[in-house]
Symmetry: C2
Subunit: 176 residues, 2 copies
Amino acid sequence: MESRIERICVEHGLKMTGQRRVIARVLSEAEDHPDVEELYRRASALDGRISIATVYRTVRLLEERGILERRDFGGGRARYEPTEHGRHYHLIDIDTGRVIEFEGGEHERLMQQIAATLGFELVSTRLEIYGRRVQGVPRGAARGAEKLPGAVDTGKTRPPRRADAGPLARDAQLER
Amino acid sequence: MESRIERICVEHGLKMTGQRRVIARVLSEAEDHPDVEELYRRASALDGRISIATVYRTVRLLEERGILERRDFGGGRARYEPTEHGRHYHLIDIDTGRVIEFEGGEHERLMQQIAATLGFELVSTRLEIYGRRVQGVPRGAARGAEKLPGAVDTGKTRPPRRADAGPLARDAQLER
DNA sequence: TTAGGTGCAAAGAGTTTGCTCGTAT
DNA sequence: ATACGAGCAAACTCTTTGCACCTAA
């Protein structure tokens, strides 16, 4: 049956080829922030007749249509997530690459205010926290995560080739 | 005479070649957030015997030594600034690529708290605002920038080839 | 039928690196 | 003297693109 993103694509009047349907499904089912290679891997598993060029073209198309959002968590590869599953920000575990989402109402207000003060109209923002899981934390603190509304562990990523532009140390690796 | 960064390099026990001295000086005098090509351009103007490979190797070295900090404002090129001219964040003018720095005490407290709540030790953060200069703002608002302590226009960048990973629209161009 | 999508391989952009020669210490 | 740096070009990674062929609408 039709995946959520496939439906959105149709609504946008996109021609739905077999490849796009598969990619749309992979995206719909993703609960993490996969990069193109990972999307390609998952799509290929469902249908071998997909080339990575098509994945690149598709994510670009969907991004231009506002259906996907591109993220850059360092590591040199762009990562994607469906638009509009609520405004949120990311905490990246620098040891595992795991991404945890959190809300940032406070931050939004502040950034809005800062932009205005400097004479700018806020167009977009980037707010990420790179951290390391605290060891032997009295479970209380760890469970505290649940207290932050909207905090969700979005799952794992994959072993990167090389780190680069980003707040991560040069060889801090995403995931693994 | 010896530039600020050159002195720091010496203190770090780095072998100071002619090239490094020039690059150190360019960095010391930079008031913006130049990328490697720009550094190469400025260094070459002072001494033609510098290759871009050396610039890459040098910024990497200085980054590893904690003397420089790498930034990624989208656009696919890493940009650099000397470490420790105070903790600050950046507002990027998406029309011109200009970078304005601002302090974020409030944000820091919040991010620290969020990390702790989620059971993480905050290692580093990324907080950027991408905005567009407001037209015909009653001068008051524009001048407001001066009210934000530490707000500094760090100057211009250069015309990029292509935008990429980042909050900027795919063809939003940094500068010019 | 035909505008537009796909695969493949080549091209690009930014960055790194192997190798040989040069130089700061 | 020698360990380390520099220049040059080739290699790499991620992403885009030209072209011939294919397919959804």
